[in-house]
Symmetry: C2
Subunit: 132 residues, 2 copies
């Protein structure tokens, strides 16, 4: 009987949340500093107002960003990551490292510079027969 | 003049690739072992044949998976990660760790168990004025 791989629902939800159109980009920008709505729009010229508003609302509902209203004239709105949102930094950094090493590279032309750490080796175990 | 956050196009492309509907799930499964088409479909009952085929073709075009044809009767097709695909493991593991710690938790109820490592501290530097 071959080892039966399983899907982790929490992983699944998380990876599709951060990979939603423009969501990873917004989080990457807010990891750099707290930003106003208009600043986010300026750095992502391809995004529509409607989509940016929608993404920000989703991230607020997920507890990943805070919407901060500053009582000035006119009122100013800024966005910042929550503790939960900031905790995404190692994951997004790892995605960025992969992208830097492997973008525009074929499947195995160049090995990553660092060896696989033992902590990750378990996922590579092949318990199934390769040629049943 | 406030520090101007910038978007990394390679990161942006990568995060939306792995976050595409069911793509992260397929990679997570193939990290566990090489699988046949029908096995993937069985583990992801919600996916349609059309979408699974499309995702597998995209991942093959990106050099992330190999499509392996085994000359048996009937011919058998299996999918496995390439070196480039397997290099996603640390990033996906980090997303999984975040999901385990923070799913269903509000923005800051519970701190992560481990402190932020110094290697990641740079992204937290606030070079912008908070109240200009």
């Amino acid at each position: 009987m071959a080892f039966q791989p399983a899907l982790c629902p929490r992983f699944h939800k998380a990876v599709e949340l951060i990979g939603r159109r423009w969501t990873g980009a917004v989080i990457q920008l807010l990891l750099q500093r707290r930003m106003r709505y208009a600043e986010l729009r300026d750095v992502i010229p391809e995004i529509s107002d409607r989509m940016l508003s929608e993404r920000l609302r989703e991230l607020e509902e997920e507890g990943i960003i805070d919407r901060i209203v500053i009582p000035a004239t006119p009122v100013r709105v800024e966005y910042d990551l929550t503790t939960k949102g900031r905790a995404l930094e190692p994951a997004l950094a790892a995605v960025g490292e992969w992208a830097q090493r492997w973008s525009d590279k074929p499947r195995s032309e160049r090995q990553p510079e660092t060896a696989q750490s033992p902590a990750h080796a378990h996922a590579h175990a092949r318990t199934a027969r390769r040629r049943p």
